[in-house]
Symmetry: C2
DNA sequence: CTGAAAGCGCTAACAA
DNA sequence: TTGTTAGCGCTTTCAG
């Protein structure tokens, strides 16, 4: 195993000082063309590359962003991770991943660990934050942005879809489709996304003087979801439409409805989801759903984060990205329904 | 934004030297109970936590593992990432993620970047390595382990499923099911996994004096896969069984077969996949497939990696994890077929 | 524009 | 068991 190549070694070979080497590899520094040339030659001859960690120590810039994720089973998150990583890589940052179990206590530990690595920022995907923890991050001067979750905590930015409006549209859509018994299959109640979707959906029914015909909680968990569907449809007047708070649950619901309960979707029941995960467009499902625009969300997340890093005093930003209804074949489409 | 709490500050408050503080936070160091108590009190009063980066600089242990992934769309990888991250977290390591595009050039850049962060090891999931790059890692003293890919490069460890045997079983299974026209839908030809699966499958047919009735290449890409299926079945004597090199492709194949070509699975065609992604067990598919045992693969990957980190001179390890055939409903099950 | 010098926060000998 | 002393590899004043 060869020796580690240091700036010092490059300096000696190039016949300059070690700081000259540093300057060559520091974007806005002043170096003469001659020095630069000598240094670059020596550097590539030796295979030198700056040590990010050493640089971080003195400059305080680790070029790392901590990402906390909980549910990678939900296809939406891998997609986000991929896009986020790419966007950040383009800006010279890299992602340090931390998996959080759903238990509350874990998150605190995890965030502490993240801080130990001197990350420049933290993205919390699908998890919420205690205000206590939030202030520890602030104390450490590390900006936090919540992704797909929002919270009214001082100084915490958040990027979500416009869950309320997205769900509101679904309500209108189902109403326009002349459904008689409209149900809602909820996600985990602790999630702000779930709450906003429920509120938006109920609000739309409300406007029409209508109420939920049935409500069950699937908690975003597969087996819990299947049970919820069974319960919801095991009654004399079963729903003729269900809005499901997430695609992962909606796909399971369709499967149970069709293959276990022998119902036709959308013949007997219309199903609408939320997220638009890749599987939603598979031919077996063709799920009508509300799309979370991952690209836009990620872009906003990155810009928010970078701004916070660059401008320490910056006010927190809250963004709600438009979430359009995507018409496919799992729900009856009202006559003349546009967009 | 509060000042950063250093070991020095803790030392002053506790009335001890800074190295005493360091020792308290270093597992096997010798400290008196009295000193430890004083330090811990001061530390928690101040909210002190050791700086991983500073520690890494002097000890050479960054507690970071670089992970390179290419296809997060394949559900198998998010699963692996989650398990890998959890296993590594349990050992005090964390994952620095790097996304690699499929282009060859990118990978080199990416691995260089990883090295800049002084990671202690690298896991390459579903990408191969140029021998040139491999030696750069060796030179840097950073062990590499390939995950779900294998290569005969000096000093590079690899963990895969036993793709050959897994695929071989599929061949036997389809043969026992008395299929007449057996086809193979390949993945990207550059992948060692794909090659081993094909070899294993063909070998099983060979033993019975049989040959592939049709062969197409889906490259592990959705649209390419759908086309491949159309081509494969648009002929007078269409296959009555297909082994597909990956579940992601197999699910698409089932959809095209059923919903576009109007064929019954397994009535008209038996379909068998490889991976056993979560969606394979969904009621709409019930895909018979070969399971990649992610838990075992990850555990092996971690132990291999840690051993290489601990024992710099260690010989590379190659592991092929058993991959059992999981019987579900997408392929005709031979009379009396066991296991 | 360039070099010398002073650390960033910590661990690891080395004495005491 | 403890404190003292060197640095790890780099950026960043500060003179020149």
């Amino acid at each position: 195993m060869a020796e580690k190549v240091t700036a010092q070694m490059v300096a000696e070979r190039a016949g300059v000082s070690q700081s000259a080497v540093s300057r060559v590899f520091t974007p806005g520094a002043s170096v003469s063309a001659r020095t630069e040339k000598k240094v670059r030659e020596a550097a590539s001859a030796l295979g030198y590359r700056p040590n990010v960690l050493a640089r971080a120590m003195v400059s305080g810039r680790s070029r790392m962003i901590g990402l906390v994720v909980a549910y990678l089973e939900n296809q939406f998150y891998p997609e986000v991770l991929e896009k986020l990583s790419n966007a950040l890589q383009a800006e010279g940052y890299h992602i340090l991943v931390f998996m959080a179990s759903q238990e509350a206590g874990t998150l605190d530990t995890v965030v502490e660990e993240i801080l130990d690595y001197q990350v420049e920022g933290i993205v919390l995907a699908s998890v919420s934050l205690s205000s206590d923890l939030a202030s520890r991050c602030q104390a450490a001067g590390v900006p936090v942005v919540l992704f797909n979750r929002s919270q009214d905590i001082d100084g915490i930015s958040a990027v979500t879809s416009d869950n309320f409006t997205g769900a509101f549209q679904v309500g209108q859509f189902l109403l326009a489709g002349e459904h008689e018994r409209i149900a809602y299959l909820a996600g985990w109640e602790g999630a702000s996304t779930q709450r906003d979707r429920q509120r938006g959906f109920v609000a739309a029914l409300d406007v029409a003087g209508r109420r939920l015909h049935a409500w069950e909680d699937g908690r975003f968990e597969p087996s819990r979801t299947a049970d919820a569907v069974r319960i919801m449809f095991d009654r004399s007047s079963r729903p003729d439409a269900v809005f499901v708070a997430g695609d992962q649950m909606a796909l399971i619901a369709m499967d149970v409805l069709r293959h276990e309960l022998g119902l036709s979707v959308p013949g007997d029941v219309s199903v609408v989801g939320f997220d638009d995960v890749p599987a939603a467009s598979w031919l077996s499902y063709r799920l009508t759903t509300v799309r979370q625009q991952a690209d836009l969300m990620v872009a906003r997340c990155v810009s928010t984060l970078l701004r916070a890093i660059e401008t320490p005093g910056a006010a927190p930003e809250r963004h709600a990205i438009e979430a359009p209804l995507i018409l496919r074949a799992s729900a009856r489409i009202p006559q003349g329904w546009t967009q």
